[in-house]
Amino acid sequence: MVRYTVRRLLQAVPLVFGASVVTWILIHAAPGDPIVALAGEDGDAGYYAMMRERFGLDRPLHEQFFVYLGRLVQGDLGFSYRQNRSAVGVILDQLPATLLLMVPALAIATVIGISVGTLAAARKNSTLDNSARTATLLGHAVPVFWLSQVLLLLFALRFDWFPVQGRNDARTDYEGLRAVLDVAHHMVLPVVALVTVYVPPIMRVTRAAVIENLDEMYIRAARARGQSRRRVLIRHALPNAMLPIVTVIGSQIGFMFAGSVLVETVFAWPGLGRLLLSAILARDFAIITAMLLMLSVTIILMNLITDLVYSLLDPRVRHGT
């Protein structure tokens, strides 16, 4: 187990390095001059030169690359000249608001996906199964930002059940429980939109994995010993189907962040989505590239964790058979 863990960790290092190289190349190959963007179009040459020196942009490229790598190792992913703060700091400030949407949505989606997927597998080709599969296909095709707009049109504007945008009611100054309920009320529509796109992959994989396991000999053996269908399904088939389910959840992290950013934009939710949008408008590229790099590293880590969990659950994985 230790050897497997070390091996997987060592395999992750070149990936992280590769991701940082890609990000650096993007930053430096991009047209446009960050100094001009910062100091304005009509600064004089001396001022530009001073700024360039201050930010180390006058040094040769390979030196800049090593400076960049050295900073990465120290957790410095760039500086937002616009906000005059480190990009990581700005992003971490907005992250909780995004997680406030993502985490509940993922939790709800996991419960729905696994339970409906298991039921659909148990009653293959039933009405439930067919509707679940149709819903999955639709969920894969619908753009999440459009779904958000439609939810907003229907349930906020037409029926007035939920607030239109934002995280809390700006007109009132709630405290304590009422403030929490106010935020929860604002969360409903964005979370529903996210759940709709998070469920399909989880449900589809659950269904497929449970069906595959129900065909196995050990299931027949358990049934032959007189265990009920229900018990066999929940105690035998589902746990054995967990590996692919864990994989799909782990591998979807980038997709989940993308969904959240888009949903936040529609609902004017103050999270990473809004930060990203304002960074695009202000050409604050440090924020954008830092976000790309942080997310890449998160994905590498998630893959690593998934693999390690896998090998804990299933010894065949670490022995490579």
Partner: protein, 310 residues
């Protein structure tokens, strides 16, 4: 699609161990007379084919279906749907129907270009890796792994934000990040085929390795790769729409995402500006996804358990 992709990835990752001459057996079913009938007997295939055909026809005949220029002022702003403007007009009095029809061209172009690139890059990288083996294989697979961990949406967003909006940049970055699975499947296909006797025979007859790969190995390993590449179309359409929705689309080309970006500011005032372009995306993506699923049930039968018809 994602879950099917995971299933295929698992199969492809372990391809080196599992792949053997016997793997080619399932392909025997193809080519027998009933293949079209078998394909057409699946409702998924039929619906997918019909929706995709509709999508392609609208894109191809856009200038006949909606002669109005989608950027021209066709009426007063914010007209609701009416016999004159079927889907209403937007904030500048542009016809939404014309926008939806012409937007199909952009989506189709992006989807097909990305899937085509995924097929070409994946086949070359996977084919060379599987055929050459050894160090070349290891290096190429490391690169493939890297392209898998980079988040596509954010990478595309970064590139388009840094290098400027435009369809070319968008297609380029989506193409460069979409070949991981096609490469893996091409590689395991090549691994299975290259051990077959006719390949050894060709080698013995003096056929060069490159020629051998091109004329003997790849043609027999390509079908599952094509099917897999078809699954990239829907994803590429969705990402293009998402980026355009964030204001990173090509400003000179009408697209469904651009229309939704514009609609966002007027969502209280003009519901039709939001509803119809989004519906168009959903129908188009559903169509190409269903067709891709059907193609994969046909050519990648081992992942059929996760398929819509399974």
């Amino acid at each position: 699609m994602a879950d099917r992709l995971v299933a295929l990835r698992e199969r492809a990752v372990s391809g080196r161990r599992r792949a053997g001459p016997g793997d080619a057996d399932h392909r025997g079913a193809r080519g027998t007379g009933g293949s079209w009938r078998r394909f057409a007997s699946s409702p998924v295939a039929v619906v997918g084919l019909a929706l995709t055909a509709l999508f392609v026809l609208v894109a191809a005949l856009a200038y006949y279906i909606a002669p109005t220029d989608p950027f021209s002022f066709a009426g007063t702003p914010f007209e609701p749907p009416s016999p004159k403007h079927w889907l209403g007009t937007d904030d500048l009095g542009r016809d939404v129907f014309a926008g939806v029809v012409h937007g199909a061209r952009t989506s189709l172009f992006v989807g097909v270009a990305v899937a085509g690139a995924s097929l070409v890059i994946g086949t070359v990288v996977g084919g060379v890796a599987g055929f050459a083996g050894g160090k070349v294989d290891d290096l190429l697979m490391r690169v493939t792994e890297l392209s898998q961990v980079l988040p596509r949406f954010f990478l595309a967003l970064t590139v388009v934000a840094l290098f400027g909006p435009g369809l070319r940049n968008m297609v380029l970055v989506l193409a460069l990040t979409s070949w991981e699975l096609t490469a893996r499947v091409a590689r395991s296909g090549v691994l299975a085929v290259k051990e077959l006797e006719y390949v050894t025979a060709a080698e013995a007859l003096g056929s060069s390795p490159w020629r051998n790969l091109r004329t003997h190995v790849l043609p027999n390993a390509i079908a599952p790769v094509v099917a897999l590449a078809s699954l990239q179309v829907g994803g590429a359409i969705l990402i293009e729409a998402s980026l355009s929705f964030l204001g990173l689309g090509d400003p000179n080309v009408i697209s469904w995402g651009y229309m939704l970006n514009n609609a966002q500011s007027f969502v209280r005032r003009a519901w039709w500006m939001s509803v119809f372009p989004g519906l168009a995306i959903a129908v188009a993506v559903l169509g190409v996804n269903l067709l891709g699923d059907a193609l994969n049930d046909f050519w990648n039968p081992r992942s059929r358990t996760s398929g819509a018809s399974g």
